[in-house]
């Protein structure tokens, strides 16, 4: 009798050929849908060589787009981080009625189309609305100017930081903060020496995702920015303009910069998940 009959065969998994087929299907699905488009961005950018690609980034239009995108992210991301920390503190440290409603409201931007978000901002701050007209009259145009781009970027990334912090802070409870309080620490001292060290990696995680989305936002910004060349055209908007003018290398070079940003974001995010899994929201544990 051969010993194959005695070999242990686990019952809680699929037969080896099925496993192989499922793995291959997954790899093929991701290769066609994710890896191929990512590679194409770089191939198209380098079609006329690396020098042409870099040169296209140095032209004034591209340079101004990169500058604007950096400014928008530098305003929108810290503001949303402050919001996220405040919301998470308010929601996890106190008990009050309507908490579930508040969380739903914070999540609202996830179920609103970016284009509808842009439309909402135009209807609030546009020059022909009451509020917008008043602001323009006092020399503060919002729509077709920087403030609307920042607001649009904030709208679409609004829940990111709060969503990341709330589960972590619920898990950690209030005991440490209350202990610090009984020892006589002030509110800010409690936050900076007790709470912040506990949530820093989760905060960084939320900020990373918020930043990637803010720099890449297209639909909402397309509606509110007016797409004025050299003034209100962010990187994604400039990519669209260049692409529509058949300036393929220039469009894909700028796209490659954003794709690199996405890759850096994914790498940092994955490193955080491996290294600090216990300090992130449970759904990110790997």
């Amino acid at each position: 009798m051969s010993d194959t009959h005695l070999r242990f065969r686990p019952v809680a998994t699929e037969p080896a050929p099925v496993r192989a087929a499922l793995i291959l299907t997954s790899v093929a699905f991701l290769a066609v849908l994710l890896f191929a488009p990512l590679i194409v961005v770089f191939v198209e950018a380098l079609r006329d060589g690396a020098i042409a690609a870099v040169a296209s980034l140095a032209n004034p239009e591209a340079a101004s787009a990169i500058r604007l995108t950096l400014i928008v992210a530098a305003l929108a991301v810290p503001l949303n981080a402050v919001f996220g920390i405040s919301a998470a503190w308010f929601i996890t440290k106190y008990d009050f009625r309507g908490k579930a409603l508040l969380i739903t409201m914070i999540d609202l931007p996830f179920s609103v189309s970016p284009v509808v978000a842009g439309l909402c901002l135009v209807l609030t701050f546009g020059a022909n609305t009451a509020l917008g007209g008043w602001l323009v009259g006092h020399g503060y145009p919002v729509v077709f100017a920087l403030p609307s781009i920042v607001l649009a970027s904030m709208f679409v990334t609004f829940p990111f930081v709060a969503r990341e912090l709330i589960p972590v802070m619920i898990e950690q409870g209030r005991a440490e903060e209350e202990a610090a309080l009984t020892l006589g620490a002030s509110g800010w001292r409690i936050f900076f020496t007790v709470t912040l060290p506990n949530i820093r990696w989760a905060l960084l995680y939320g900020v990373l995702l918020c930043n990637a989305r803010a720099m890449g936002e297209f639909g909402a910004v397309a509606v509110v920015s007016g797409k004025i060349r050299g003034q209100t055209a962010t990187m994604p908007i400039t990519i669209e303009m260049l692409y529509n003018e058949y300036l393929s290398v220039a469009a894909f070079s700028l796209a490659a910069v954003l794709a690199l940003l996405a890759l850096v974001t994914l790498t940092l995010k994955t490193l955080l998940e491996w290294r600090f899994a216990d300090q992130l929201a449970a759904s990110h544990h790997r």
């Binding site: 997954s26 009050f96 639909g219 954003l258």
Partner: protein
């Protein structure tokens, strides 16, 4: 019976400040703009909104957006479950790379995804040429839109189901096997019901994302009225024509339909939980 108090006093400081920042920013960034949309709709009045929406072109774009989003979300449901299972349960070289790559659609800007997919699936692109030799056109047709919507919704189901797969106790599957169930029967009757609520959540998120998607779609769609014109694009067109009532009408219609869909799916989730309990 006493009412639960509005606020339970807590000794921790900072309640006023954190509540103030939270509510002020929420109002300014999210609630005020959405309120402005609804107010604009209310002042225009239902008849005016209906006249704006009730054209074949707008019904066509709304139907197209929701039909293709539904198909894309269903495809993502199937592949999302498959990916979650493969990434958690199997060990193979490159698994961690694949796991990290699943989030690419979250990190890659939609405009970048849009031009990349178009370059790839246009008739002169690498995959487009292959499809063309079989007589199939992908870019600038509804297939192209479907592809872009699958791309943007891809991570949702995988990411909601993965943690649940990790929680499943193998003993349950072994018990099922010892009672004589085939592996497929165990997967279908024991494992799948445990994954269902998380999968439905992922499906709903994927659907909501696809319905509103603009950036990745407009490049590959071709944007031909009644054929490949999605609803968000029509809002942009109306705004460019300074037809604010028209844009408002489509915007409100999209808001209402996506909230209705989320409500239905939430109800389904509650039902499935009632049947099999929380997992």
């Amino acid at each position: 019976m006493t009412m639960r108090p509005l606020i339970n006093r807590s000794p921790l400081p900072g309640m006023g400040l954190s509540a103030g920042i939270t509510l002020t920013m929420l109002s300014l960034v999210v609630l005020l703009p959405i309120g402005a949309l609804l107010l604009k709709g209310a002042t225009a009045g239902l008849p005016a909104l209906w006249t704006e929406v009730n054209t074949p072109r707008i019904w066509g774009s709304l139907a197209l957006s929701f039909r293709l989003s539904l198909i894309a979300a269903l495809i993502n449901l199937v592949f999302g479950l498959l990916l979650a299972w493969v990434l958690v349960r199997y060990r193979f070289p490159g698994r961690k790379l694949l796991d990290a790559a699943v989030d690419l659609p979250f990190a890659l800007p939609t405009a970048v995804a849009g031009i990349a997919l178009t370059a790839l699936y246009a008739p002169n692109g690498a995959f487009g040429a292959i499809a063309k030799s079989f007589g199939v056109k992908i870019a600038y047709t509804q297939w192209g839109i479907l592809l872009a919507l699958i791309f943007v919704g891809l991570p949702f189901v995988t990411r909601t189901v993965q943690p649940v797969v990790e929680e499943i106790e193998r003993e349950v599957e072994e018990a099922s096997a010892t009672l004589g169930a085939s592996r497929f029967y165990t997967l279908r009757r024991v494992v799948l019901p445990m994954l269902a609520p998380a999968a439905m959540t992922g499906f709903a998120l994927s659907l909501a994302r696809a319905v509103g998607e603009y950036g990745s779609v407009i490049f590959i769609a071709g944007n031909i009225p009644l054929k490949t014109e999605i609803a968000p694009l029509l809002i942009v067109i109306k705004l460019e024509e300074f037809n604010y009532t028209g844009a408002t009408a489509i915007g409100i219609a999209m808001l209402l339909i996506s909230f209705a869909m989320l409500l239905v799916i939430n109800a389904l989730q509650v039902l499935s939980r009632r049947r099999i309990g929380y997992v």
